[in-house]
């Protein structure tokens, strides 16, 4: 089974709109939402089947047992994350603690210990023929990269007879994006034609290339800025990156998504353009396999 990941660098370029449309067109049996900071794919995928939720444990967090604390200040000295505060008592800011365990190691009286901490929730929809894996990160938690790895592991936990898994990614280029890249066969980048969009587009392409994942590029709302659209296409050409199509600005898209549907379920310009992109992506993905 191949894995296709949708990324963008910049937020709001249309990752989820495109991912949900591709899932619908391919009737994908296996899919996942790796945007654990702000997951949205479930809002437009009428994911069927049984829903199982499980707590996600990230790294443990430190706690100080006040009765054993001799206020030596050693923990505060060594903590690199400013997670230890003193207001007459030493306390650990649970939001700032990264669970490294250095405070526990240096404490002379063993007053500090690490305890398991729930950092999010994994959700798995398992239908008769479909698997959809998603998660929500707890407010303000770190470790989103580790949660992304768990989402992908969960997606593969139920073997399915199918050729393609489609995964919606998160914006940016940091830990959740890097975690989502592992094991992926190809990334489809949804670019936005603007000065900001172009800058972010080049950063995500560099990230994918560092982790040696091949990329494909499409442009959303191409007609809102023809000059920047041309710049994106030229960049792809110069760098030998396959360009798979352009989606026009389409006021209907917002209305369709707000009904909880994908843009390929109703006849509209953006949906039709996405259909063409789908065929090209499929052609490139499976041609690569044969060669």
């Amino acid at each position: 089974m191949k894995q296709l990941l949708i990324l963008s660098g910049k937020g709001g370029t249309g990752k989820t709109t495109v991912a949900s449309a591709l899932i619908k067109l391919h009737q994908a049996k296996v899919c996942a939402d790796c945007d654990v900071d702000a997951p949205n794919l479930h809002l437009v995928l009428s994911a069927g089947g049984e829903r199982t939720k499980s707590d996600y444990f990230g790294l443990p967090k430190a706690l100080i047992d006040q009765k054993d604390c001799i206020q030596c200040n050693r923990c505060m000295e060594v903590c690199r994350f400013d997670a230890i505060t003193f207001d007459g008592r030493y306390r650990i800011d649970q939001n700032a603690c990264e669970g490294c365990g250095v405070c526990e190691f240096v404490c002379p009286t063993k007053a500090v210990a690490l305890y398991p901490s729930v950092n999010g929730e994994l959700i798995l929809y398992h239908g008769r023929e479909t698997v959809f894996s998603t998660a929500t990160l707890s407010m303000g938690s770190g470790n989103s990269g580790m949660l992304v790895s768990s989402v992908k592991k969960q997606m593969l936990s139920i073997p399915m007879e199918t050729d393609l898994a489609i995964i919606d990614g998160s914006p940016g280029i940091g830990c959740p994006v890097i975690a989502s890249l592992s094991g992926v066969d190809s990334v489809l980048v949804v670019a936005e034609p603007s000065i900001s969009g172009f800058s972010d587009f080049t950063r995500i392409l560099k990230t994918a290339s560092i982790f040696q994942v091949p990329t494909l590029v499409c442009i959303n709302k191409h007609d809102t800025n023809p000059n920047q659209s041309r710049r994106i296409k030229d960049y792809c050409e110069e760098n030998g990156i396959p360009f798979v199509g352009m989606i026009p600005f389409d006021p209907m898209a917002v209305q369709i998504v707000n009904q909880g549907k994908t843009i390929v379920e109703i006849d509209c310009p953006s949906g039709n353009a996405t259909r063409e992109i789908y065929l090209k992506v499929l052609g490139l993905l499976f041609r690569r396999e044969k060669s």
Partner: protein, 285 residues
């Protein structure tokens, strides 16, 4: 006053709101904490910015002294160390710079050296002090850059606009911790409303006063507006979808500099924040 601009969902117009708000406030500071995709500088185009590297500490192992005891490997909770063919190997990208390995090594074979993960650019443009954090491509976490940016305005008495990263994770939390008020930018889709709810919850956890800005509004249903009314969140301004605004913004132009109506709109936003926060302070005292 420190004003954090955030949204949960990406692409709702955080940078649009931050850049234009900073532009209508005399003598303000614009802080770009979206270090993975820093775009405010593309609008302000400050000339000759001063650059400063941001470093983190990473371990380096003296292989002569190391006897392969594995104490560091077992201690590291981030799996950033491994023993390969009897030698310790450091995976710099996943190291969190906690310094634990240097403390546990019985041979004293590990020390730390600085490694650059990005930079901060500072420059002035249009009367705004523009400070941008930029994470190097391929690095996992921009938190140290955000911390450094925020430290740079710790005692600043000016108005500081903090352009936050998307999402609701550690980087966003870091960005809003020191803010006096949060401005939540939302677009009129079910995605926008769902992520608005997430950042609203985050702002509530940190007990910050909040204002909403509804962006790209169109006639018809707006799930984000419905959420604001339900939760009794003050809608400070409503920025209707506008082709001209879209064009200026997508070419990295600052709309308040070319359009009087938008200038008034953003002045109004600043007024409402000032009044709202003043009121909040008065009722809390």
């Amino acid at each position: 006053m420190k004003i954090a601009v955030l949204s949960g969902k990406g692409g709702t117009g955080k940078t649009l709101v931050s850049v234009n708000l900073a532009s209508v406030i005399a003598n303000s500071v614009y802080l770009d904490c979206d270090v993975e995709e820093p775009n405010g500088r593309l609008f302000f185009k400050p000339e000759h910015p001063i650059e400063e590297d941001v470093n983190v500490l990473i371990p380096i192992v003296d292989q002569e002294r190391c006897d392969g005891c594995r104490a560091c490997v077992e201690f590291c909770r981030f799996n950033a160390l491994a023993i390969i063919k009897g030698k310790v190997k450091v995976y710099e990208e996943i190291c969190h710079s906690c310094g634990g390995c240097t403390l546990v090594c019985p041979q004293g074979a590990i020390r730390e050296i600085p490694k650059s993960i990005g930079r901060i650019e500072r420059g002035v443009s249009h009367g705004v002090d523009v400070r941008t954090g930029i994470l190097n491509v391929g690095n996992e976490s921009g938190v140290p850059i955000i911390k450094k940016l925020l430290e740079s305005v710790d005692d600043d008495q000016r108005n500081v606009i903090i352009d936050c990263p998307p999402g609701s994770s550690c980087v966003v939390m870091e960005s809003i911790k020191s803010a006096d008020v949060c401005v939540l930018v939302a677009e009129p889709t079910i995605f926008g409303a769902h992520n608005l709810a997430m950042v609203y919850e985050l702002a509530c956890v940190f007990e910050k006063p909040v204002f909403a800005v509804l962006n790209k509004t169109l006639a018809g249903e707006n799930p984000s507006k419905t959420f604001c009314i339900e939760k009794n969140i003050e809608i400070a301004i409503d920025i209707p979808f506008d082709e001209e605004l879209g064009r200026v913004n997508s070419n990295a132009g600052i709309i308040v500099e070319v359009d009087e109506n938008h200038r008034e709109l953003f002045m109004d936003l600043y007024d409402r924040i000032q009044k709202g926060v003043g009121h909040e302070a008065a009722t809390h005292s």
